[in-house]
Amino acid sequence: MSNYYESSDLAKFGEIGKAAPELGRKFFEYYNAVFAEGALSEREKALIALAVAHAVQCPYCIDAYTRASLEKGSNLEQMTEAVHVSAAIRGGAALVHGVQMRTLAEKISM
């Protein structure tokens, strides 16, 4: 394995069901249902997925949901704002733990 990540692997996502077809079928059925038009539009769901892709730092997901967001009509401004939502939550999640740090530091300090 020359690289841990290969862009061509994205197209092979479906093959993950080969060794456990029933689980694969259930997962992809659920996956497709999640992204179907519902109370949220397909475009909105793609933007959420794009933000989450950045939070979990999955290059396959970033590839897939950059394309999906464009296909479904978003522009670069909207996609960048989605990434900032991700950054704000990740950054905020680190910072809010500072309260825990402060609580402990104050408890054990004179």
Partner: protein
């Protein structure tokens, strides 16, 4: 992002891809893409053949007031190829000879810039034909075209208009600066005349359908979902209405092909189309029921074949002057690698997704 092409046609640039044979060789040369005809044969349904003719699609010329970056016609203000009235008369004679053709679909260029456009529409309507105008919207506000919206309404012409995004930046990036705002203004003019009102529960027959085509090297999203998004956004932000949204895949021809090649996206785009090949689209392909007429009267299986100069196959009439009813019955359809564009995913046609 690749450097945008200056707003000039490939012909004017003397670009190698201005030539149809260079375009065909370029897309044929992409590795890893099965020849389209072989892919169709492998489905077991046999080669693509025609059914009855239902639509005559006339390309009345390459003259246009816009120079969109993806244009498969390489249309623009510098193009001088426009259909003559004599050729239009031959088209009308063919309509008379072939009663199964119920729709005249007029495209370009900006069709309205052909000096005989309105006479052609009147003549077809007088024959009881449904008339579609493939309109770029901005022509409605162009100098010399006041009254066009009234003419459309009076003649009950169906308008199919390009609007690749509900966002100004993406529309303008493809179609030129300021096109989005002008397009919205044109939609207002049409709405005021009763166009695009079917979605509000009104039963008017003045149809304004929009076309979404991707603003880059990617495929269209789901048509129904995009239509809902367009309707919501255009209504809430701009107060304009339309009837249906058609998603159309960009085919690797002319200026879109030039963009794909220049931006390094050609091979990947062709492989995307190839991977998305869907045999279920084959029965509904528009080439099965459409006769495409070029500005000079030459006959083709579709407007894309016309631009690639891929003539009708076999012993068929090659020019509208030679048209005879029944001549195209069950005829084989000329195909090429570009045909993967109409068969990808949910399929694509001048009437949007096929599935």
């Amino acid at each position: 992002m690749s450097k945008p092409l200056a707003l000039r046609t490939l012909v004017r640039e003397r670009h190698p891809l201005a030539r149809a044979d260079t375009q065909r060789a370029t897309i044929d040369g992409v590795p890893g893409v099965t020849p389209f005809a072989a892919r169709v044969e492998a489905t077991g349904r046999g080669a693509l053949r025609r059914g009855a003719l239902r639509v005559m699609q006339i390309n009345v010329g390459k003259l246009c007031n816009q120079t969109c970056k993806h244009c498969h016609v390489d249309a623009g203000p510098d193009r001088r190829e426009v259909m003559s009235w004599a050729t239009m008369e031959a088209c009308l004679r063919a309509l008379d000879a072939c009663p199964t053709i119920t729709t005249l679909d007029i495209t370009g260029g900006a069709p309205e810039m052909n000096p005989h456009f309105q006479a052609l529409v009147r003549a077809a309507r007088a024959r009881g034909k449904h008339v579609i105008d493939r309109c770029n919207l901005t022509i409605l506000a162009a100098p010399g075209y006041a009254g066009l919206a009234d003419f459309f309404a009076e003649q009950r012409v169906e308008i199919v208009a390009s609007l690749p995004s509900v966002l100004a930046d993406r529309t303008d990036a493809q179609r030129g600066d300021g096109v989005f705002e002008k397009s919205i203004a044109a939609m207002r003019l049409l709405n005021e005349r009763g166009y695009g009102r079917s979605s509000g529960g009104e039963t008017g027959d003045l149809r304004l359908n929009l076309v979404y085509n991707p603003t880059g090297a990617f495929l269209p999203g789901n048509q129904a979902s995009l239509e809902a998004d367009y309707r919501r956004t255009l209504r809430e932000r701009h107060g304009v209405e339309f009837d249906r949204l058609y998603t159309i895949t960009n085919l690797p021809i002319s200026r879109f092909l030039e963009y794909l090649e220049r931006s390094g996206n050609l091979a990947e785009y062709m492989r995307q189309l190839h991977a998305a090949f869907n045999p279920a689209t084959l029965d509904g392909l528009m080439c099965r029921e459409t006769l495409s007429v070029g500005w000079d009267g030459r006959l083709f299986d579709c407007d894309f074949n016309q631009m690639l100069e891929l003539a009708v196959e076999g012993p068929l009439p090659r020019h509208i002057n030679d048209f005879a009813d029944g001549a195209f019955a069950d005829a084989a359809i000329a195909t090429g690698q570009h045909c993967y564009g109409c068969t990808a995913g949910s399929g694509s046609s001048c009437g949007g997704a096929l599935l």
